[in-house]
């Protein structure tokens, strides 16, 4: 049952062109920085990891509007709830599906972004490892925020205001892990990620339930 749910959401994620949009937006943000601060290779290599993290956070906002609202409107959650599925579980399935459509393209695009910014190989590895740990939390947050803002006018802008502050710890620890001796930051990143992943399904489930009434 859950597999069918996840498969549907993954299919919708890729079919809507959402994954491509995220990748293009991510690369666009990453390329803005060299334009803004000039082609100083040493400087770019130094800030590149942080740039990739900031771009990833911004790209995570893009899919928020289509994660929950369309299904709420079309009564899909009603039908799932009638079948006795817990909405927190449905939200968790959606988070898994969203991570599957969001993280792999983003992590692949991070390689390209690292090339554009002249990031050394060792830093790229740390960025990728950090993204692997941090993207589940970004996906979970996106679904929770999507559920909280579903049905509001200007939901996209509101979602940004809600989600970015909550994602700041991920940015701090993710970028912090790029420095020498960043093992501690990785652990804190993982702890933050775990907290967000564990809590978000319940927030999202309750928000969807409230949105159904």
């Amino acid at each position: 049952m859950l597999i069918a749910l996840i498969a549907r959401d993954v299919r919708r994620g890729y079919a809507g062109g959402g994954a491509t949009l995220v990748v293009i937006f991510f690369l666009l943000v990453a390329t803005l920085f060299p334009f803004a601060i000039g082609p100083d290779a040493a400087l770019l290599a130094r800030i590149g990891g942080g740039v990739i993290w900031a771009a990833a956070l911004l790209a995570a906002l893009l899919p928020v509007e289509r994660l929950v609202a369309p299904d709420l409107e079309q009564g899909v959650f009603d039908q799932l709830a009638v079948r006795g599925l817990s909405l927190a579980l449905v939200a968790a399935a959606r988070m898994v599906a969203h991570w599957l459509t969001f993280a792999p393209p983003l992590m692949a695009a991070a390689v390209a972004a690292a090339g554009l910014l002249g990031l050394p190989g060792v830093l790229l590895w740390r960025v990728e490892l950090g993204l692997l740990i941090g993207t589940p939390a970004l996906a979970a947050l996106a679904v929770a925020v999507a559920a909280l803002t579903a049905g509001f006018r200007g939901a996209g802008a509101l979602a940004g205001l809600l989600m970015l502050p909550l994602a700041v710890p991920l940015l701090i620890f993710g970028a912090g892990a790029l420095a020498e001796g960043g093992a501690g930051a990785f652990k804190l990143l993982a702890a933050t990620s775990l907290l967000l992943v564990a809590g978000s399904p319940f927030v999202a489930g309750a928000a969807i339930r409230a949105g159904m009434d």
């Binding site: 009564g75 039908q79 009638v82």
Partner: protein, 179 residues
């Protein structure tokens, strides 16, 4: 508070029709029976149930057959989709994306999901909305067949439907109802 003191039992093969003015709580009663709303007092006991709500809940970009397959897989009845599409006379549109269907066809598609669900209790909220005369007759025949097979039906409708032997549940606005 929408209504109070409602006692309704549906035996196998029974049907009940909920009527009343707009906004009196017909849809809320059905959502209550579907488990989507919690009663302020009292309880709902129902066997396997399925709801025909206001929205079709079919993925607009998918061909009709596959959109129904998704729900049939959750209901454990993938083999019933083809027959259900036949029953609502949409079998020829199986490969047409849901977004291309008309309002009435979408309604029939949602009805096909109800038929394919295999649930004992059908909760139909304004099932005749958007249906033409022939489709209403088909709906009545489907409900009759479901009841003949031991199922029960709870319908909220403002369109008179031919449901022989159905109990009438008339909701009236509560005098002291501020909300």
């Amino acid at each position: 508070m929408l209504f109070a003191g409602l006692d309704l039992r549906l035996a196998a093969g029974a049907a009940a029709v909920v009527t009343g003015p707009n906004g009196v709580g017909k849809s809320s009663l059905l959502r209550l029976c579907a488990g989507l709303l919690a009663p302020a007092a009292g309880r709902v006991v129902a066997p396997s149930r399925t709801l025909l709500g206001e929205a079709a809940a079919l993925d607009p970009e998918l061909p009709l057959g596959r959109a129904l397959d998704f729900w049939a897989r959750l209901d454990g009845g993938r083999g019933r989709v083809a027959a259900a599409l036949e029953a609502v006379e949409l079998a020829t549109l199986r490969d047409v994306p849901v977004k291309m269907l008309s309002t009435g066809q979408r309604r029939r598609a949602a009805l096909a999901r109800v038929v394919a669900s295999g649930a004992a209790l059908w909760l139909l909220d304004e099932p005749a909305n958007g249906l033409d005369v022939a489709a209403v007759a088909r709906l009545e025949a489907l409900v009759a067949a479901h009841r003949a097979g031991g199922g029960a039906v709870l319908v909220a409708t403002h369109v008179p439907l031919a449901l022989p032997g159905a109990q009438a549940v008339e909701l009236t606005a509560m005098a002291d109802a501020p909300c």
